[in-house]
């Protein structure tokens, strides 16, 4: 399990961007829960990794923020900027290439489905 976390680590930003692309806007805690839900608990984004990743992408201009009042507290939502949308597409392409190559290495006879 721990070793697998290491494998996911390099793709953390791409995963966050893809989730934002699919869901429009999300807040930090929601992202951690969504990832847990999708991967059936296999991937766990730690708080110590999530916020630095979000803050870095915000500073780089890939994410924009929006505030809302929910349950008596202020919630900070993240969403993709125009540049963020373009970046997501290019990162997804890189990731898909990576998966394809890994698949070829791991099981050369198996064709990936995408």
């Amino acid at each position: 399990m721990k070793k697998q976390q290491q494998l996911y680590k390099g793709s953390l930003n791409t995963i966050i961007m893809k989730l934002l692309e699919q869901n429009g806007k999300m807040y930090g805690y929601e992202i951690t829960q969504k990832v847990k839900e999708i991967t059936a608990g296999e991937m766990n984004i730690t708080e110590g990794a999530l916020y630095p990743a979000l803050h870095k992408m915000e500073a780089e201009g890939f994410l924009d923020v929006e505030m809302d009042r929910v349950d008596g507290r202020i919630r900070k939502y993240y969403k993709l900027t125009e540049n963020g949308v373009k970046e997501t597409a290019s990162r997804m392409e890189e990731l898909e290439n990576f998966i394809r190559n890994m698949q070829t290495i791991v099981s050369p006879n198996l064709k990936p489905s995408f």
């Binding site: 807040y27 930090g28 805690y29 929601e30 829960q33 730690t46 708080e47 110590g48 916020y51 630095p52 803050h55 870095k56 915000e58 500073a59 780089e60 923020v65 929006e66 505030m67 809302d68 009042r69 929910v70 349950d71 008596g72 507290r73 202020i74 919630r75 900070k76």
Partner: protein, 235 residues
């Protein structure tokens, strides 16, 4: 299902402050995160106390708690403004703006060659006085931010980045300008040909950085601080 009360939200704010998060915008995000996580714990086990649930969640932030998070965010924003500064300065050494830069450089060289030590004194005085202006203005800017923070009772992370953006060059370049003061008070100012070119390059760089700083960086910082304030005013 048990929900976080208003009083508990206030407790969470105090908790983040106690763990060295002084910026309101960062506190807000952490408070909401902790509140969500605690409420989720209550879904599983409604008897767990607020304090225990909070400690469990805090541990997930690792040994450095929130401090690493704040520093990392400051670092990222500092990098962003440094990149902005360099990109703008680099524009002046690429076409078409490079014509202006070369023109300025040749103008200074020509001026120094014609006027020798008097010219050097004038250039050094310009360098020194503009640097002093930058320092005084920086000091006033930092003071203005502090007054604003006191008035609002809140501080924003970006304000700390703005303060650093002003104070780092003042401290870092202090030595270079100190030697200018020394040179100004020397009895014989005679400057060599190589010295003329060196001084011209230094002056051009100095003026470029100041220009970009006041034309791009400072307005951008102010705009972003204002945007942050407005974002929080809406809610």
């Amino acid at each position: 299902m048990r929900k976080i009360s208003e009083q508990e939200i206030n407790q969470l704010f105090v908790f983040t402050q106690k763990h060295y998060v002084e910026f309101y915008d960062v506190q807000v995000e952490l408070v909401d995160h902790l509140a969500n996580a605690i409420e989720d714990q209550w879904k599983e086990n409604p008897t767990i106390s607020f304090e225990d649930a909070l400690q469990t969640e805090f541990k997930k932030f690792g040994v450095f708690g929130f401090t690493g998070l704040v520093e990392q965010k400051q670092g990222e924003l500092q990098k962003y403004y440094n990149r902005m500064l360099w990109n703008e300065v680099l524009k002046f050494i690429s076409i078409p703006k490079v014509i202006l830069t070369v023109g300025l450089y040749l103008g200074i060289v020509f001026f120094l060659q014609k006027t020798k030590s008097l010219g050097e004194m004038i250039i050094l005085t310009i360098l020194l006085s503009s640097f002093i202006y930058f320092m005084v203005d920086g000091f006033r800017y930092i003071l203005k931010i502090r007054t604003e923070q006191k008035k609002q009772g809140k501080s924003w992370l970006l304000q700390s980045v703005a303060q650093a953006t002003f104070s780092i060059p003042s401290i870092g370049l202090g030595g270079a300008y100190y030697s200018i003061i020394n040179r100004l008070f020397q009895e014989n100012l005679g400057i060599s040909n190589a010295g003329i070119h060196f001084l011209a390059v230094f002056t051009v760089l100095h003026l470029l950085f100041l220009f970009v700083f006041y034309k791009v960086i400072k307005p951008n910082l102010n705009k972003s601080i204002k945007e942050t304030e407005e974002r929080f005013q809406i809610v």
